[in-house]
Symmetry: C2
Subunit: 165 residues, 2 copies
């Protein structure tokens, strides 16, 4: 707080004056706008990409878990995965440990698509955070990660080191 006193008030972005909701919304909008070119070809758009990303983790990636993490309704989840499956990006596999659940598994094609999309998304992210230095961007990401990390995804049911639960 002390180091800002010699800067004109209007020129300084006063942290307390920023509405978190507005700022987050603006940033997410900018991100989605920039990412449009990357994810628009994917079925499901941004959410399709996110589902692929989570499926790539290969841990407890049944539909309910993914839906919970992404804040997607489970009925919506069904046709998002439908579209990804039709496009050959993922397959549904019954969870051996719970025959109600369907694991979402990346196909080879899905993995390749995700790989190139991820690389381009990293570029997009760098551009969106372009107003920050590299160190500041890392700091921002790590703070963001800590803020969102407090519901650390119940992996209690996922014993074993295998990529599939």
């Amino acid at each position: 707080m002390t180091q800002v006193n010699d800067v004109p008030v209007q020129a300084q972005a006063r942290a307390a004056d920023v509405d978190l909701g507005q700022a987050l919304g603006a940033l997410l909008r900018r991100y989605l706008e920039s990412a449009r070119g990357v994810v628009d070809q994917l079925p499901g758009g941004p959410r399709g990409f996110q589902i692929l990303s989570i499926a790539a983790e290969g841990v407890c990636s049944n539909q309910a878990t993914i839906a919970l993490r992404l804040g997607i309704d489970r009925t919506v989840m069904t046709y998002l995965v439908d579209d990804l499956e039709k496009a050959g990006m993922v397959t549904r596999r019954p969870d051996p440990a719970d025959r109600r659940a369907r694991q979402v598994v990346l196909t080879g094609k899905g993995g390749k698509t995700l790989g190139s999309a991820s690389a381009r998304i990293r570029e997009v992210e760098r551009g969106v955070l372009g107003a920050l230095t590299d160190d500041e961007a890392d700091l921002f990401r790590s703070l963001l990660a800590r803020v969102t990390a407090d519901v650390p995804a119940d992996h209690s049911a996922c014993s074993g080191p295998a990529p599939d639960c």
Copy 2:
């Protein structure tokens, strides 16, 4: 990068591993969830609150400007302001400098409502960033402000110090 080497990889939130879109989405979702109790009574919900906030700045708050800042379609803006006006929170005033434009002006009731809502929103924000210390939260906010500050709202048409352009 160097200071994380002595920490187990899984326990450390690796900044580079976090998908910016996912993290921002999750955080915004959490924020909206927490803010629901505050803004649900307002016409337009979260966006109604944001419109009130911008109207309270009293500078260049015509509908197009507000819509641009919030990423809202102008046809949607119309009925959002309609609802706020019906609720007696704002009034529409023709911009003396541009008779096409309508300035969105807070009423007394709108100001009071915004005041109490803002106070409660500040609480919500503190809760959402609760995983961070106060200093870290300030840091996060200032980084966020800088990231989103690069389109600094064209005030060239707004000469004069008056609260109404």
